[in-house]
Amino acid sequence: MSEFSVELRDIVKKFPTPEGGEVFAINNVSMQIKNGEFFSMLGPSGCGKTTSLRTIAGFEWPTSGEIYIEGEPMGHRPPYLRPVNTVFQSYALFPHMSVAQNIAFGLEMEKIPKNEIKRRVAEVLEMVKLTGMERRSPAQLSGGQRQRVALARSLVKRPKVLLLDEPLGALDLKLRKEMQLELKALQQEVGITFVYVTHDQEEALTMSDRIAIMQGGNVLQVGTPVEIYERPNCRFVADFIGETNFLEGEVRVVEENRVTVHIPVLKTDIIGTKAEPLSIGEQVVVSLRPEKTRIIENKVNMENCFQGTVLNTAYIGSDTRVFVDLGGVSLRIWEQNKISTLDPEAYYERNEQVWVVVMPENALVLHAG
């Protein structure tokens, strides 16, 4: 058995445009998804994540490249002969069948004996907590229940890989958070490889073992949630995941991981950490996460200490979001409210003179562009 559950090798997918041209939906994507992994593809709409998933399912055939499932090349094999199942964004429940019939459908296609179908349907219904709903029609179910039926219908087939196309997209926020945890628990329980497509970064960070960040038909970075957030490998990933401040500058000194970058608008240097190979004189951006940048009231003798003026503040309960002007650029800085107090002195005010400090390991230096 192959080490990888799913492998995409140099996948290119072009679609014809109505004008007679061609458009790249996937522009050379390679990915290796491990057995039993919860793997997410994350990116803005149009980044190629859904097309990638559909090529694995067999609904689309790649223009070039090959997809391997359990080490076996899929070629032009139609969806009904692939050992994967899909949970659709729209759920795609069969409206003319009951819940039990929907779930049994896939097993009937495998010509499994009636008794066993019955047993497995009951088993999976219990797993998704829908026991007693067997005879309902999909129209009589709530959004969350439909989502569970769609999940049960795929899981009952015991696929090697389960493909999920934004399955929580249609649910309201509270239910979505509940289902995120439930899905993750379910995945660990059944041990099936999950390939999960989403545009919701929090969802991806919460559930995934690894995440692939996609943009414009390319994979930019593949890594664990911590790697993706703490060590983004390019400006797009740093910007897409979470929030960040960018300072544009030019590399002056490189010593191992420490980089000195001259920031023209601040007319000073900032010392940061490099995330990718850099050379002297190169144009770069320094990424400063708002929660990893600190505000202090008096100047301290530390690296990366800049004077600024508070432009505005927004109190949001757990944090106060402070916007500080450093003379030409403004930074978003999130101050955690660790002490419960009504004293206005404890909070920053508009026009207050402050100092901003960034530890060199929190200033990530990335290629510009």
């Binding site: 399912a57 009904y80 994967v84 199942n85 899909t86 659709f88 795609a92 459908f105 896939g106």
Partner: protein
């Protein structure tokens, strides 16, 4: 009055439907009652109606005759029973053929790019701009012994040096069937298209994803989900085919008499409105029975309203 119209919802409804209601009562319900009454009467020598209450017209329709040869007072005359069964079987055959022909076409249009769909639907409706009778005459031109089809076949046979005797196509059951299918095909295509077009494409994908081959997807998804269209189309084709007389008159000649022709003859030629009325009532009852059982089995859908 105006105030009542503003505030009373049910009065608003009654007011809005009243023109249609009057129209239907005046031109459908009353004539139907008259037809029923006349059907129980008998014909006077001058062709007027003697009102009464007798079932003799119905008895005659089902083949029990009092004008017998060989001195018997009662005997079986199959003429009218044959007309009834011929009408039923023709309507059935037309419907089946129309379904078989319309389904692939409707499916093709429903799955075509949305921009092209309207063009295709438009093309289906174009023939309807020409008068119905004229189109049937066009079929006569095609089917005649020295018509277009035989002409082309004869020319082709001549090219290859084969002896050719023209086919007798006009004034046959086949000609009537072809004419009927041609005439009523759009009424099958449109409801079928409507129900096929409504099927969410992701259902086909889900079916394939769960292991169903294209044939099984068709049998388990497409067919059951398009049944409302099949039912509506069947009603829209079966019912008018049962009653129409122009197609059979022109393409069937005297040979192919349907119940519609019988009714027309009784009123206009034989001048026996009582027998004609009885035939009309029987036609209506037969149609109602068939559609009742049919819709009870498959369900009446919104498609029939959509057309």
């Amino acid at each position: 009055m105006l105030r009542k119209l503003r505030e009373d919802k049910s009065f608003q409804g009654t007011t809005l439907i009243s023109p249609t209601l009057l129209f239907m009562v005046g031109l459908l319900v009353i004539p139907l009652i008259l037809t029923l009454v006349i059907s129980f009467g008998s014909r006077a020598a001058d062709g007027t109606v003697i009102y009464g209450f007798s079932f003799h017209n119905y008895v005659r329709l089902f083949g029990i005759s009092t004008e017998c040869t060989g001195g018997k007072t009662i005997c079986f005359d199959p003429t009218y029973a044959r007309i009834l069964s011929r009408s039923l079987s023709l309507a059935f055959n037309t419907t089946v053929l129309a379904i078989l022909m319309a389904y692939p076409l409707a499916y093709f249009i429903a799955r075509a790019p949305s921009k092209k769909r309207n063009t295709f639907l438009f093309l289906i409706l174009v023939p309807m701009w020409t008068n119905f009778v004229i189109r049937v005459y066009a079929w006569m031109m095609l089917l005649r012994t020295h018509g277009v089809i035989n002409g082309v076949l004869g020319w082709l046979a001549g090219l290859f040096g084969i002896d050719f005797t023209p086919f007798e196509m006009l004034y046959t059951q086949g000609a009537v069937l072809v004419g009927m299918v041609y005439e009523f095909l759009p009424f099958m295509i449109l409801p079928l298209y409507t129900s096929l077009e409504k099927i969410d494409l992701s259902l086909y994908e889900a079916s394939a994803d769960l292991g169903a081959s294209p044939i099984r997807t068709f049998l388990r998804m497409t067919l059951p989900l398009s049944m409302p269209g099949v039912v509506s189309g069947t009603i829209l084709v079966f019912v008018p085919v049962m009653g129409t007389f122009i197609v059979s008159d022109l393409l069937g000649g005297r040979q192919i008499v349907l119940i519609g022709n019988l009714i027309q003859n009784q009123f206009l030629i034989a001048r026996d409105p009582t027998f004609g009325s009885a035939a009309s009532i029987i036609l209506m009852i037969m149609t109602l029975i068939v559609t009742y059982f049919y819709t009870r089995k498959f369900g009446l859908s919104e498609e029939i309203v959509g057309i």
